[in-house]
């Protein structure tokens, strides 16, 4: 029994979990075992998986192990929430059920001890990247998703592999600014609450502007240099803290 707890919620994103990065997955399992049970809730804010080909890919042992670990956390009394990222947007009710978590829309306004916070993955705010926004609109379209998910799993995986390769070369051509969130898109989120927590950009920071705060989550990488990762926590006083991978406050 972990309740009651002062630590109302933890937030992570951009782990890009994949079987070929076992140390990153181990860090995630350790986080679920040691840190997350101390909080009332865990919010997964996108790109937890490097890619997701459809809920029928749950049979892959790596994916099944992640779902089981999340389910175990829920059974220890921690509420688990999931927001899709730009890589794992095909996660659906099948995965949600297997992992015992609740799917959230993007953006989502949550209340912690009376303090409102807007949660987002962050890709929808990168409005300067016009090509990506067009791609996003396409793949988030329910008809497109239905059609895509009707293909055999192997075919979907092949298409995703092609998209990832294309994305890597496209990134190399895009400017640093274009791949960050745009000021007007951030302002639209701030209209919903003074505090925003998002991921996606891999540029961990706390941006302040008067009473407005925007927390950016770090990505996780333990299999390649530089090693990095961490999370954000909110407590009952509404205090938000950033932590590195071993829990040290930043």
């Amino acid at each position: 029994m972990t309740t009651p707890t002062r630590m109302l919620a933890l937030f992570i994103s951009d782990l890009h979990l994949q079987a070929s990065h076992p140390r990153t997955a181990d860090a995630f399992f350790r986080f679920l075992d040691e840190q997350a049970p101390r909080a009332g809730a865990l919010y997964l804010l996108g790109d937890i998986f490097e890619y997701w080909a459809g809920d029928d890919d749950l049979e892959t042992p790596f994916n099944a192990a992640i779902a089981a670990a999340l389910r175990g956390l829920g059974e220890r009394g921690v509420a688990v929430y999931w927001m899709a990222g730009n890589r794992d947007f095909l996660v659906g009710p099948g995965f949600a059920q297997a992992a015992g978590l609740t799917l959230l829309a993007d953006p989502h306004v949550a209340s912690f001890g009376g303090h409102q916070v807007v949660l987002a993955h962050g890709d929808a705010q990168c409005t300067g990247d016009i090509k990506y926004m067009a791609f996003r609109a396409q793949v988030r379209d329910p008809d497109w998703q239905t059609q895509f998910l009707a293909m055999p799993l192997v075919q979907r995986k092949a298409i995703i592999a092609g998209l990832r390769e294309g994305s890597r070369s496209a990134h190399a051509e895009k400017s640093y600014e274009i791949m960050d969130v745009a000021a007007d898109a951030v302002a639209a989120l701030h209209a919903q609450a003074d505090t925003i927590i998002h991921g996606h950009t891999h540029r961990p920071a706390l941006h302040r502007q008067g009473s407005l705060r925007r927390f950016v989550l770090p990505d996780w990488e333990l299999d390649e240099e530089p090693r990095r990762g961490g999370w954000i926590a909110i407590d009952a006083d509404g205090d938000i803290t950033r932590h590195d991978l071993d829990g040290t406050p930043l």
Binding site: M1, T2, T3, P4, R6, L8, D33, E34, P37, R38, G40, A41, G74, G77, V78, A79, F112, G113, G114, A236
Partner: protein
């Protein structure tokens, strides 16, 4: 009001239980008291200036079985003020059985509706031995297996009995 005496290895705590406002919770708590459930349990989770939680484990973090749960009476108007007693539970609202906690600070966010629409049901308050509660609040804690915030030296509830 029913008065109980919590005898611990750190001193005695006397508490009044409010059966008028928390009838089901008090009845359930006294069920476990009369069974002797609390004898030689520990305060196994101590978070300084938040709360001290006990009544579910024996020394060595051996969990004790429980056999009944109680409806959440978090809506009864009693607040999670400093030195009040409330029921611990899982994330399920009506899962409280024997584990309870003593607030060591005013914890408004635990009051109905709390984070999950239910909050934590207060059912009593400490009337003597606040200094013992303070002392437990300040003990050193560490990790014990799956559990965080476990007192390094066990804080033992030798027994809980009804005294009035």
């Amino acid at each position: 009001m029913t008065t109980i005496l919590i005898t611990t290895n750190q001193g005695n705590i006397k508490a009044e239980l409010d059966e008028a406002k928390a009838p089901k919770t008090v009845e359930n708590f006294l069920y476990y008291v009369n069974k002797g459930h609390f004898d030689n349990t520990i305060f196994h989770r101590v978070i300084k200036d938040f709360m001290i939680q006990g009544g579910g484990f024996e020394v060595g973090m051996k969990q004790k079985d429980t056999d009944q749960t109680v409806e959440n009476e978090g809506k009864n108007g009693l607040k999670n003020d400093k030195y009040t007693l409330a029921m611990a539970r899982t994330s399920a609202p009506h899962s409280a059985s024997a584990q309870f906690f003593i607030n060591t600070k005013g914890n408004d966010f635990l009051n109905y509706p709390g984070q999950d629409g239910w909050g934590y049901a207060v059912f009593g308050k400490v009337v003597e031995g606040q200094d013992v509660v303070d002392q437990i609040n300040n003990v050193k804690t560490s990790r014990a297996g799956m559990h965080a915030d476990v007192p390094a030296d066990p804080v033992i509830i030798q027994k809980i009995e009804v005294v009035q």
